[in-house]
């Protein structure tokens, strides 16, 4: 049976590390993404057979400039928790952001994400947001 790095059973949809996405701190507020309703249970789709995860999140406000940071945090969290065979798509909830298509495109451009993660300031910001989610 496939086990995640945290040793819980991956086939369980309530898998702990994916659940922990909700504990990620919002970059602008001292609250978690779940507390702010940025990410909810239904927003995380896992297909263990296809090794696919899709996360849909709702930024706090329509013009939220932090949408790309939140998306990056989600991606890094999943990258560090899931086996490498998983394909991950991150998107903002349809209709929830003024630049939805543009944000989604950036978040899913692997090369852009890789370059961003080589920026130490950005990595520090992401790590700070992810700290509460490691439990």
């Amino acid at each position: 049976m496939d086990r995640c790095k945290c040793n819980s059973d991956l086939s369980s949809p309530k898998h702990c590390n994916i659940e922990r996405l909700r504990d990620i701190k919002d970059p602008e507020h001292p609250y978690s993404l779940e507390e702010l309703k940025v990410i909810t249970e239904d927003a995380i789709e896992v297909d263990d057979v296809q090794s696919y995860v899709r996360v849909t999140f709702t930024p706090t406000v329509e013009h939220c400039s932090m949408a790309t940071i939140i998306g990056l945090c989600l991606r890094v969290k999943l990258l560090r928790s899931l086996p490498s065979r998983y394909k991950v798509d991150i998107r903002v909830a349809p209709g929830s952001h003024a630049s939805e298509a543009s944000v989604n495109k950036q978040l899913n451009d692997k090369e852009r994400v890789a370059a961003a993660l080589e920026n130490p300031n950005l990595v520090d910001m992401v790590d700070e947001c992810l700290a509460p989610s490691y439990g």
Binding site: S84, R85, K87, K105, N108, D109, E111, R112, A115, E118
Partner: protein, 348 residues
């Protein structure tokens, strides 16, 4: 030997490990075939190094890493390209520089560093005669550099036009016309001479172009056809008039020929057109696909069909796929899984 659907297989010859991070790109040294020396290719990685691999003559399926080019780039090395003579290797990096390496008796020395881009350089390409170099990057610009004696490089033009990150540049195989493809979903064609270069054509959605980021492009041997691959999950074939291209201005317009839809379910990062007209694609679903022209039936103009699909060719996304020069149907693929695989497309 003719290949037909169902009559060929992709044999894995070797898996090369060594890089400690994803392998982004690889490039075969074009000069080895004519020289009769063993095949060589370069690979570049998120581990900030470039590795040179050589085929060991005694074991036809054995490859060794002959050199590691390190301590130069300070960030991911995204792409590499050999000069047509095979003597120089250009490497493009997220550290905003392009390094030029020269093989000095088996050791590779960095002989020049090209600066100027504002941020990540994503691709580098030499023209057919080795007199010009082109680079592009996230700063949306395309730079043309003239190669001068003593390994000096002079920037002769900074081309603005793309509205977003430029993913790849590629010179036409026989004329000094430059092609670039971008996050802005378009392919641009640049022509000119000396320091006067212009965008002479843009292939976008109005011309049946892509609807998302165009990651790569590749020409057929004759240079009258080109294939592009995209985040929109399609491959597009384009063609031009060869006679017009080689006369006078050296530039002729390109038009859309056909779109290959429904074959890929995730981004296609790399595409390469072989000398025998087999198109290989490498995608984010870990698979390698081969396409050939469809000669069956009478249709309006050429269509293409899937020759073979190799699922799980790698454990993670394939970033680059390149046919080797020379006669054997050898190709190399580079992946997020940190490995490079050498394959042979063989008849059953």
């Amino acid at each position: 030997m003719e290949l037909y659907e169902g009559g060929c297989e992709l044999k894995l010859l070797e898996t090369l490990a060594g890089h400690s991070d994803r392998v982004w790109s690889l490039a075969w040294n074009p000069a080895t075939v004519a020289a009769g020396t063993p095949l060589v290719f370069a690979s570049c990685s998120g581990d900030k190094t470039v590795r040179i691999w050589e085929n060991t003559p005694s074991h036809s399926a054995s490859w060794t890493c002959k050199a590691v080019l390190e301590d130069t780039h300070t960030r991911t090395v995204r792409s590499c390209a050999w000069s047509p003579s095979g003597k120089l290797l250009a490497t493009a990096s997220f550290d905003a520089t392009t390094a030029i390496w020269e093989n000095v008796g088996g050791d590779y020395e960095c002989v020049s560093t090209l600066e100027g881009h504002e941020n990540e350089v994503k691709s580098v390409s030499w023209n057919a005669s080795g007199t010009l170099l082109a680079t592009c990057g996230r700063d949306k610009s395309v730079w043309i550099w003239e190669v001068q004696p003593g390994n000096e490089f002079e920037c002769v033009s900074v081309l603005q036009g793309h509205t977003q990150d430029v993913k790849m540049v590629q010179w036409h195989p026989s004329t000094d016309v430059l092609f670039s493809c971008s996050y802005d979903n378009t392919i641009k064609v640049w022509a000119g001479d000396d320091d006067d270069w212009q965008c002479v054509q843009t292939l976008g959605e109005p011309n049946s172009g892509h609807s998302s980021t165009v990651w790569a492009l590749s020409f057929n041997a004759g240079g009258d056809k080109m294939v592009t691959c995209s985040d929109d999950l399609t491959l597009k074939i384009w063609e031009t008039d060869n006679i017009q291209m080689h006369s006078g201005d050296g530039y002729a317009p390109w038009r859309h020929l056909c779109t290959l839809t429904g074959y890929h379910d995730r981004s296609i990062f790399s595409v390469h057109w072989s000398s025998e007209d087999i198109i290989a694609s490498g995608a984010a679903d870990d698979a390698i696909r081969f396409f050939v022209e469809n000669r069956d039936g009478l249709v309006d103009g050429p269509t293409y069909k899937l020759l073979l699909k190799k699922e799980k060719a790698h454990d993670m996304d394939i970033n680059s796929i390149q046919w080797s020069p020379g006669e054997k149907r050898l190709l190399a693929s580079a992946s997020d899984d940190g490995t490079i695989k050498i394959w042979e497309l063989a008849s059953l």
